[in-house]
Symmetry: C2
């Protein structure tokens, strides 16, 4: 398994740094190839701007059109092209980050904003009566899997179904579905460590054991069963879930995941 | 009304730039004081790191503890202190940005990550049997209002209740509730322009008219009725919404908004 780890924490000696190091050693010991994009160590440029598009930047700047032309011309800035190449190389992508203000740190959002360009991660595929481009289950990165490994400061009940912060699955949906599934990546259930702000060295062995267990069972872990855009579940081009597909009483983000089949 | 506009788009001659300029002129003409944080023009540093905490940065770096100590010591980096001062000055905060990958651009997330420090935006207030700190309706920024003005590339049906991207209110909930309501800011319903990627100069006058109308009625616009954390709706310290408060059949983010009273 070729694994890319995208890591986003400023302190190497942090819980996130330890979990990243453990992922590298665990996967390499198991015989997998591992590459790491340590965004803070790389001093990753977090802000998308005209410099990303080189000679293809127009004036006024048009992010969608310019990034697509630069991608097709091979003139995106070298740091962006290097990350796109790593994504094409990988068949598993692990994101290691702390949940800051209920989503990813800015440096990681900037990796998405700059690397997921037009014609690479979106603006792919044809439109017809039965197809609205290749996205949500199809696209450039189809055939790959991803996993979020997230540390959360607060306790688990605050992220439960009725918890005040909102359910963790709903908080992560825009990343799982909107960023990763969109260009075709299958998304595995996340690895979430709660109460990270209060964790001590004594708590680490249990966390490490649970993380190692997830890492060694990635191949046998079923992805989140998101609905494919062009599978017939959605009207085209309105992309509304067809009423016939809607589980009674269900609303919101869970509509876009296939209902769990009843267990016999 | 003292209004702070936080603007996040790389191109001044963009739709976002025009909406920001229109907000400034409309509010100033109406007699309001306006200050603007144009993050790209300011070359805002998007990445939180030890440099933000000056002499209070510990080694290993601890983002929560170090940012809180630096805030209390007045030793946060000058750019961060300047933004905190603007927030304390303002009674209305408008965020103007394009929805990139279903949330804010990295430069704006970096503004949140760096400016919303411990002891300023979180880690405020005492804990007791009836209070879990001052957050979600209470906090340093209580008494202020905020509004998101967001441009969206795709068409509105894709963001409707059953739209494939998820409902826009759910996509914005982590910003509305998790970032803005958390330190006490009341949040007005957002101003969202759909189909921005396909908008032409001919479409702009209608968009500008709608935006001007929103700007001139901010005072009379009711905020989203999020539930206050310490109001009795939640168990403390689990912060689960009490079953007695749960509208039948409702789940997910909408649980944390008071049900709309039936109209007579």
């Amino acid at each position: 398994m070729k694994t890319l780890i995208v890591h986003a924490h400023p302190e190497p000696r942090s819980l996130n740094g330890s979990l990243k190091d453990l992922a590298v050693s665990t996967l390499e010991t198991a015989g997998h190839e591992v590459r790491v994009s340590d965004l803070y160590a790389m001093r990753w440029k977090a802000v998308a701007d005209a410099a990303d598009y080189g000679p293809d930047a127009s004036s006024p700047l048009r992010v969608v059109g310019d990034s697509g032309r630069a991608f097709e011309a091979g003139t995106l800035s070298p740091d962006v092209r290097a990350e796109q190449e790593k994504l094409l190389w990988a068949d598993m992508i692990i994101f290691q980050f702390p949940l800051w203000w209920y989503t990813m740190p800015a440096i990681l959002k900037g990796w998405v904003d700059r690397v997921f360009t037009n014609r690479f991660a979106y603006g792919v595929g044809e439109h017809s009566d039965t197809k609205y481009g290749e996205r949500y289950g199809e696209g450039t990165l189809a055939g790959r899997k991803a996993l979020l490994s997230v540390t959360v400061g607060g306790p688990e009940p605050h992220y439960a179904a009725r918890g005040i912060n909102g359910p963790i699955d709903d908080l992560l949906f825009p990343i799982h579905h909107g960023i990763l599934y969109y260009p075709g990546i299958d998304v595995l259930p996340p690895f979430v460590l709660y109460g990270a702000d209060r964790m001590t060295a004594d708590d680490y062995p249990d966390a490490a054991k649970a993380w190692r267990q997830r890492l060694l069972t990635l191949d046998s872990t079923a992805p989140i069963p998101f609905r494919r855009q062009n599978s017939g579940d959605y009207d085209i081009p309105s992309l509304q879930l067809k009423p016939s597909q809607e589980p009674p009483g269900q609303t919101g983000f869970p509509l876009h995941t296939h209902p769990t089949p009843p267990t016999k």
